[in-house]
Symmetry: C2
Subunit: 128 residues, 2 copies
Amino acid sequence: MAWELSAQRPIWSQLVEQIQLRIVTGRYPAGSRLPSVRELAADASVNPNTMQRALSQLEADGLVCSQRTSGRFVTEQEETIMELKKTLAKNLVRDFLTRIEALGYTAKEAAQLLEAEDAAQFRTKEDA
Amino acid sequence: MAWELSAQRPIWSQLVEQIQLRIVTGRYPAGSRLPSVRELAADASVNPNTMQRALSQLEADGLVCSQRTSGRFVTEQEETIMELKKTLAKNLVRDFLTRIEALGYTAKEAAQLLEAEDAAQFRTKEDA
DNA sequence: ATCATTGTATTAAGCTCTTAGTACAACAGT
DNA sequence: ACTGTTGTACTAAGAGCTTAATACAATGAT
């Protein structure tokens, strides 16, 4: 999955989310070394300062730690990562429920919409 | 539902979404007169210019129309409103599916998470 | 006719975000 | 010892968002 950045929100914030995603999905495994700030920035077509800001945030959250001159590493505590994954999922679900109910749908109807959309995506993939 | 504004995204954009919500849920019925720009701005604790920008966007989308000096009115075409509701719901579902799958969950697991969270919310409401 | 209210427009200031460019100390590899 | 890479820090500029403060023409109510 490449970097997907929108101008509608702070880029550094989107970078935080997408690096989190790469960590919880194992693309950046626990304890592994991250690409350098400059490398990540170039890959995302973003200024190094912006990437640095995102990484500082991740470091403040305890998800990565920097070794000053040898690079930056993902935390070795796999439990922290699993917990993050659960939190992200729970927030996603909670936000979705809040929004869909604000629109006037019940949770049951939301589940039906979800099934319908999933089936539609499945068909699209099959056709491809 | 009061105005819920975050500093993380452009306020005018959030105002657009929340006014859309008030329209599709019938709080601002089709054909009805909206509060004045200044009134809405004061209610949302926002600068009139910011509210004006949101309303201009809604007008460009054909959801409201202004009568220059007598006020602004919700479109009378209820079909437009119903269509917006469906579109908003579909986008919500699609985005949720995309994000939850990016986290590593299948659509089925997502549905289970949804049920679990809904049950949790139900319990919370019962306790209150 | 008068006056308040309507949408709309304009200018200025302050803020955050982003980019660009530069710089420095600490370490690894040679 | 030297060189390149590392994270980190700083300044400057430009863009967008928000607020503040006005201003104006058109209309409705009185």
